[in-house]
């Protein structure tokens, strides 16, 4: 039984997610990923992005980091977008806003599918009107909220799309129905033979499992715009 417990512990460790992908690009766990705390959790911004997704299928995300080094912000934003797969596969309707607070740099990476309604000049103008003036005075939350709200409004008004059917019956567990049945069967079986000890490891498996949010698998073509504040 000790061996079995050790195996379960090892499994839990394996399922524990790393904080970064292979090349140190962040995993986006939700619509807002704030590594600096300047967005105070960003719950309202998260809600905005979720609303846009629910009504258009477009996936917007915000990432705030202290630094993008050793990469320049373009490479960092592009690779983070690609590796997380923002937007639906084939639709490429993702958008990523990256703020780097140490270097005072911002960048918006726009997927192919949204580039028609959000060309670089339009995004750049909005960023200079709504985002930059606020973050220059340290009000990151208002700047990002207003900017994302505006971009989201454009997507809802001008982009014709809808979210794909969710293949997962339980939203936060990326398993299909039959995969869930198999996992449930294994858990019940292990519960019986370990006299319930497996249940101690469930929080590890559910809470830390996976590689971030289940994004749609879209791509960026490198389109987007960026700049510096202050």
């Amino acid at each position: 039984m000790r061996y079995l417990t050790a195996v379960l512990l090892a499994l839990a460790l394996v399922f524990s997610a790393p904080t970064c992908t292979g090349e140190d690009y962040p995993i986006l766990y939700d619509y807002v990923t704030d590594e600096t705390g300047v967005l105070y959790g960003g719950y309202d911004i998260n809600e905005l992005c979720m609303y846009v997704y629910d009504n258009s299928g477009a996936e917007m995300a915000v990432l705030v980091v202290n630094t993008t080094q050793p990469y320049d912000i373009f490479t960092f934003a592009y690779e983070t977008f690609q590796q997380n797969g923002l937007g639906q596969e084939g639709e490429d309707n993702g958008l990523l806003l990256v703020l780097s607070t140490d270097e005072n740099l911002w960048r918006v990476e726009v997927g192919y599918g949204l580039h028609g309604i959000l060309p670089d000049s339009r995004v750049g103008t909005l960023a200079r009107e709504l985002l930059v003036p606020q973050i220059e005075v340290g009000d990151y939350y208002t700047g990002v909220y207003d900017f994302i709200n505006n971009l989201g409004g454009i997507i809802l008004d001008e982009y014709d799309g809808e979210p794909p059917e969710d293949p997962y019956p339980i939203g936060f567990i990326p398993l299909t129905f039959w995969q869930l049945v198999i996992v449930a069967g294994i858990v019940i079986f292990l519960s019986v033979i370990t006299k319930g000890r497996i249940l101690f490891f469930l929080p590890y498996l559910i809470g830390k499992g996976g590689g971030g949010k289940n994004w749609g698998g879209g791509k960026s073509g490198g389109g987007g715009v960026g700049g510096r504040w202050k």
Binding site: E79, P119, S121, T125, G221, G222, V225, G226
Partner: protein
């Protein structure tokens, strides 16, 4: 009907030969089709490169026209850009990949000089929304070109490695699959 030992052996040998020939034929067909797919990937990535350069060739003259009130462009600068564009268009029409690469590399050098001059010397850059929008489009196009070139080079790498490897090289030699050129540029921004 009874098979003699010799006949049975002959049948087994024939069956083995038939299976081998069939297997070789299937392998040949699959390898050929894979090379066609890899070649098509290069073509589609190249199309994206040409689209984005076409856009940049349109944007740079717009930038020069918009700023010519304040910027004293050297005589012949716009004509040079126009000549490069013509060279590019001719190479594009003739499907001359090396010609397009040369023209685009020369154009990148010239456009960098123009963009840097505007960024450093234009007095109203920070307040001119039309000009800032145009600069955003140019920067966005350059980034997209960087990605398109990277995707093209990756597709070329996969294809070139495949057609040189043994035994796939037999299929490549018989099917007119030639090595494709990499899109190299000394002044290109670092690929992500």
């Amino acid at each position: 009907m009874e098979f003699t030992k010799g006949k049975l052996l002959a049948i087994i040998v024939v069956v083995i030969i038939l299976i081998s020939v069939l297997g070789f034929g299937i392998w040949w067909m699959l390898t050929y089709n894979k090379m066609v797919d890899e070649n098509e990937a290069i073509t589609s990535n190249w199309a994206e490169v040409t689209n984005q350069y076409q856009r940049k060739f349109d944007l740079i003259p717009q930038l020069m026209n918009l700023t010519d009130t304040y910027m004293s462009w050297e005589a012949g600068t716009l004509e040079n850009i126009t000549a490069m564009r013509t060279e590019w268009a001719e190479a594009l029409a003739n499907d001359d990949m090396n010609g397009m690469m040369n023209a685009s590399n020369q154009f990148d050098v010239a456009s960098d000089i123009i963009i840097n001059a505007v960024q450093e010397n234009y007095p109203n850059l920070d307040s001119d929304t039309i000009l800032l929008g145009l600069m955003d489009n140019i920067a966005g196009t350059e980034n997209t070109i960087t990605v398109a070139r990277m995707n093209y080079n990756e597709a070329v790498q996969v294809y070139n490695a495949h057609i040189k490897k043994f035994p796939a090289v037999w299929v490549a030699n018989s099917g007119d699959f030639e090595e494709m050129p990499y899109y190299e540029s000394p002044n290109a921004p670092a690929a992500p």
